[in-house]
Subunit: 194 residues, 2 copies
């Protein structure tokens, strides 16, 4: 008889995209908390939308959700007010050193950010290039051009070179951690006032 | 033997406060959808925050939440952009014909709306007096005065008379259903521009 080798259980490493996303997200939440405490801006992360199917009431005042599913958000994750401007953005990260795939950005997010910028708000992405340990502020106009180009059969990602040329490097420190409002001060608001 | 009457099953009517709240909320969501489609404003309801405790994966791509609890939101329910202004509000309703109890408005909501108005945003409440079938736009300043007064031992509610004098009646129609932006046009933005 032939002895088949016993397959080893595959150990799935927990360093998945979603975990990394959580870190970037929580760094931005810590940044926003600092902005709030120093009265610089009022910006919050929206809760993740959940479709509740079943709720039980084990005690009178406490509802326990026993069946629910994550829903696709219709907007971006973060919004708020800064210097009187409406601010709206999402955060993304990439493992690649050379680009971020546009598959990371959902159609409805592009549509939402377009509506925001058309209405006079400040819309953008914060993109983390893990390989370079760099955070970039990507203005919506650059995102939109690359996105539209991809719809016409062009490149399906935004290159790191595009970020170096057309996005703004965000400084990272202890407090504020990911200081994207300083980018807005220097590069975005002066253009809006023209 | 004494025959005890068989107790009838009590039928609990489903016209509770929470259901009514849902109607007001969904009327505002329909209004916002109309504003969005007519390119007048981009305003969304934030998802209800949920603390997820347990998730199972019955199939590869679908996460099923099996234990979760509702969390207290740290902000108000609605925000967005209108005519370049950041707009932020919550909706409340009262069964009473003469007042709305301040217990309906949470401390953190007052704090949040104060931060918003201090930052140059437009903060307010939409209050539905069911007994009168009237919707009111209550500016944050009026809410804050009544709230501060209640903290000093004053009245624990806002009277209907205060609404008649200092709030703005919102017209109700088919589309837009609860037309609060027209109140902002007539009564709020002109004051901001002084």
């Amino acid at each position: 008889m032939i002895k088949h080798p016993i397959p080893k259980k595959r150990v799935v490493k927990k360093t998945s995209m979603s975990n990394l996303g959580m870190t970037l997200e929580s760094d931005i939440e810590i940044t926003n908390q600092f902005y709030l405490e120093t009265k610089r801006a009022v910006i919050y992360k929206k809760p993740t939308p959940v479709q509740v199917v079943n709720v039980s009431y084990p005690s009178r005042n406490k509802a326990k959700i026993t069946e629910a599913y994550y829903k696709t958000p219709s907007t971006t994750d973060f919004n708020g007010i800064y210097r009187g401007y409406y601010v709206d953005f999402d955060c993304k990260e990439t493992q690649s050193a050379t680009s971020i795939p546009l598959a990371n950005v959902h159609d409805h997010q592009v549509k939402h950010l377009r509506q925001i910028t058309e209405a006079g708000g400040i819309g953008f992405l914060i993109v983390y290039f893990k390989a370079h340990n760099e955070y970039y502020y990507l203005p919506f106009e650059v995102l939109e051009r690359c996105y539209n180009n991809s719809l016409k059969g062009g490149r399906k990602s935004i290159s790191y070179k595009t970020f170096q040329k057309e996005a703004h490097l965000i400084s990272f420190s202890l407090n504020p951690r990911i200081d994207y409002l300083t980018v807005i001060d220097h590069h975005i608001i002066p253009k809006l006032k023209k």
